[in-house]
């Protein structure tokens, strides 16, 4: 089985099958670039991902492994309105996968999925964050994201007025 060595920003190495790795657009490109530049067709590619740390990279690879038999979604599919993709692609396994994560980890996963071009993972993680916002009050959003209001004077009221103009019309 052809393997590829994927190394995280903090130096952890993961050995995975090229078949699995190629489900990431980024890794696929890197492997193909390595193949073109390497004289030895048997050589094992080594790819450094300098923007993703080990814990996050492990999660991405774990998700890819679970979804290795799914059809690959093009990165630009349904760009204008990708809502359907996420809902269609989310399984019970995905829900269990995301459930224990705090929002900080989810944010890191979004950035990693985007960097590695894993559209399915990008969609479900974005959808998870979206669910913490859509239909919630501002106070509920602050609670979910552990933030406090720092508006001064009537800034918040003025912002609310601007929003109203934007929505009303």
């Amino acid at each position: 089985m052809a393997l590829v060595r994927v190394i995280s920003s903090d130096g952890a190495a993961f050995l995975v099958s090229q078949r699995l790795a190629k489900r990431s657009g980024k890794l696929k490109t890197e492997i193909e670039t390595f193949r073109k530049s390497s004289d030895n067709s048997e050589a094992q590619p080594e790819i450094r991902i300098v923007t993703i740390r080990a814990e996050i990279l492990r999660l991405v690879l774990q998700w890819l492994q679970q979804h290795q038999n799914d059809p690959v979604l093009p990165a630009n599919q349904n760009e204008q309105d990708g809502r359907g993709d996420a809902e269609m692609g989310q399984s019970q396994w995905d829900r269990d996968f995301l459930a224990p994560m705090d929002l900080g980890i989810v944010m890191e996963l979004i950035l990693a999925a985007n960097h590695l071009e894993v559209k399915g993972l990008l969609d479900i993680t974005c959808k998870l964050v979206e669910s913490k916002i859509t239909g919630r009050t501002v106070d509920e959003i602050r609670t979910a994201f552990k933030l406090k209001s720092d508006f001064k004077g009537n800034e918040e009221e003025q912002t609310r007025l601007e929003n109203r103009w934007c929505v009303e019309n």
Binding site: M1, L3, R5, S9, D10, G11, A12, A13, F14, L15, V16, S17, L20, T51, I52, R53, A54, E55, R58, Q62, Q65, E79, G82, R83, L103, G104, M107, E108, I110, L111, N114, L122, C126, K127, V129, E130, I133, T134, G135, R136, T137, I141, R142, F145, K146, L147, K148, D150, K152, E155, Q158, T159, R160, L161, E162, N163, W165, C166, V167, N169
Partner: protein
């Protein structure tokens, strides 16, 4: 980082040779640690010092730090949501309804600022947005579908006045997304859109008209500098004031990046279009407007009005007068005959243009990558050989119709890739697949075809071969008779081609970069061999869309 600036070295994880199992050895230990420990560096620093060092690290640097080692990640964990959410928001945006996105502006000052930056740069990515600010969507007839869902919409004097009184000018930008839609209707009794009839604000006398313009001017004077994206639908009553009022409005929006103008007025006002055009030219000479130096996208249309002919020169004047020479990237003039203007960095153009102006266009805008075009041909005899060096002659048949004839020397080879296509019958889609011999002049006969040829269209476009990636032929001035010649479309960088007719594959074989092909339905699509061969012959082709009336069929590359 150590004293040399390198991040602390980690031991490589042991890897599992079983490729389907991904195992790590350190994560468990990391998860179990609850108190922050300094990473091993030289010299060692106490945790409090790291805290101090990283206090002012933001955005990209923040991401680099948390990815460097688990200890730093743990130290900065509490700020993770705040720092990373704005970076992730552009991807989350497409799932967010507009109201909920706007709510994020109310969470905190920091989030308001960050959301606005993202919204300003991706205003059309909200889930509810149907508008495409980058380039207006066009219907099949080439008319712009009015839609500007992201913007603050002003319609009628009351909305201008109410905004002026409600919103303070000292809080910075009052327009989320910096996107504004001004719907200005001067027309008394005008009824252009039934959907708007209840809200329609009509100007019925000079005083109201004066108030109307005062309110608009006050709004733009107060807030115009905050507007980056402006849609201006201007339905005028008296054409005499169009240039002056437009100039006055645009003077107040110096930071515009994208401008969509839509004009309309009563036909009765245009007794002499030449007079109007001459007056416009003279006006812009005497009142040179300042260029909108940040303008990247300019669109000018005249939807639903039968007067656009009178605006041909006026629109070209607007491009010359307002569009910055170096910054303009996209130009949309679907209703107008474009006269090439030096715009050296123009990347996208959607317009009508005279076929003979194509070389001038290439010279004026040599970087053109995306071209949506309705080609026009002059009345009278035009010999394309004179400057194209090709073998087509364009003749006038005495009426408005133009005939393209191929020269006598043209070789009539055709259909070599699919010899059996000749047997297809319009009425019988199952007759397409036998390998019977061909008679090129009989098959796919179209009663309209006969004397005309589209080869000349593509031949004229070959001068854009070094840059053109997208080509959309917006109208079909031809009746189709492609089989009379063996021209090849030679646009090696072309990735997307939309044409309002169909072409046999042998004309497309040089399109080595083509990924997307849209053609009208024709009997060739009923040929299964054609459908499979097209993906073999065009190695990068991913999708073929063919339309038949309102039906749309999509073929994708077989796995």
């Amino acid at each position: 980082m150590d004293a040399t600036g390198s991040p602390p070295q980690k031991k490589l994880k042991s890897v599992d040779n079983d490729a389907t199992k991904i195992t790590t050895s350190e994560d468990a230990a990391m998860k179990n640690s609850t108190s922050f420990k300094s990473p091993i560096t030289s010299p060692m620093l106490v945790p409090e010092l790291w805290d101090l060092i990283f206090r002012n690290v933001v955005t990209d640097d923040y991401l680099r730090v948390i990815n460097s080692c688990p200890e730093w990640n743990q130290l900065l964990n509490s700020r993770k949501i705040t720092e990373l959410f704005p970076m992730a928001l552009p991807f989350i945006m497409k799932f967010l309804p507009k109201n909920d996105f706007l709510n994020l502006r109310l969470v905190s000052r920091d989030w308001k600022r960050k959301c606005e930056i993202i919204y300003e740069n991706h205003p059309a990515r909200l889930a509810t947005a149907t508008s495409d600010l980058r380039f207006p969507k066009l219907s099949s007839s080439g008319r712009m579908s009015p839609s500007f869902d992201d913007g603050v919409k002003f319609q009628g004097v009351e909305s201008f006045q109410r905004f002026n009184s409600e919103v303070r000018n000292d809080c910075g930008n009052p327009f989320p997304g910096r996107c504004v839609w001004l719907l200005i209707k001067e027309l008394e009794g005008h009824n252009s859109d039934d959907n708007d009839s209840e809200e329609e604000e009509e100007v019925r006398n000079p005083q109201i008209e004066l108030d109307y313009w005062n309110a608009i001017n006050q709004l733009l004077l107060q807030f115009g500098e905050h507007i980056w994206y402006l849609q201006l639908d201007y339905l005028f009553r008296d054409v005499s004031f169009v240039e002056t009022r437009l100039r006055n409005m645009l003077l107040q929006v110096p930071n515009l990046k994208r401008l969509r103008l839509s004009f309309g007025g009563p036909e009765v006002d245009f007794d002499d279009s030449d007079e109007f055009n001459l007056r416009s030219v003279e006006f812009f000479k005497q009142n040179p407007p300042p260029k909108l130096e940040n303008l990247e996208v300019f669109s000018c249309t005249n939807p639903n009005f039968p007067v656009y002919d009178e605006f041909q020169d006026f629109s070209n004047q607007l491009v010359k007068s307002y569009c910055p020479t170096d910054n303009l990237k996209r130009l949309n003039l679907p209703d107008m005959s474009y006269k090439p203007t030096p715009l050296p960095n123009l990347l996208e153009l959607r317009t009508m243009i005279n076929y003979l102006e194509l070389p001038a266009l290439k010279e004026a805008s040599p970087k053109l990558e995306s071209f949506g075009v309705s080609l026009q041909f002059e009345d009278g005899v035009v010999d394309a050989n004179e400057y194209q060096g090709n073998r087509w002659r364009i003749l006038n048949d005495g009426d408005d119709d133009i005939i393209i004839e191929d020269d006598d020397s043209v070789d009539n080879n055709i259909g070599v890739v699919f010899p059996h296509w000749n047997d297809c019958d319009d009425d019988d889609e199952h007759n397409c697949n036998d390998d019977s011999d061909t008679d090129n002049d009989k098959d796919y006969d179209d009663s309209d075809s006969g004397d005309k040829n589209i080869g000349v269209v593509f031949t004229g476009l070959h001068i854009f071969a070094d840059t053109l990636k997208e080509l959309d032929l917006l109208s079909d001035p031809w009746t189709l008779n492609w089989r009379k010649n063996n021209f090849k479309v030679v646009l090696p960088k072309l990735e997307k081609l939309c044409i309002p007719y169909s072409l046999p594959i042998n004309h497309l074989l040089e399109l080595k970069s083509l990924k997307y092909l849209k053609m009208d339905e024709s009997p060739i699509f009923r040929d299964k061999t054609y459908c499979s061969n097209i993906f073999e012959q065009l190695p990068k082709l991913e999708k073929v869309v063919h339309t038949y009336g309102k039906e749309r069929r999509v073929l994708t590359r077989p796995v």
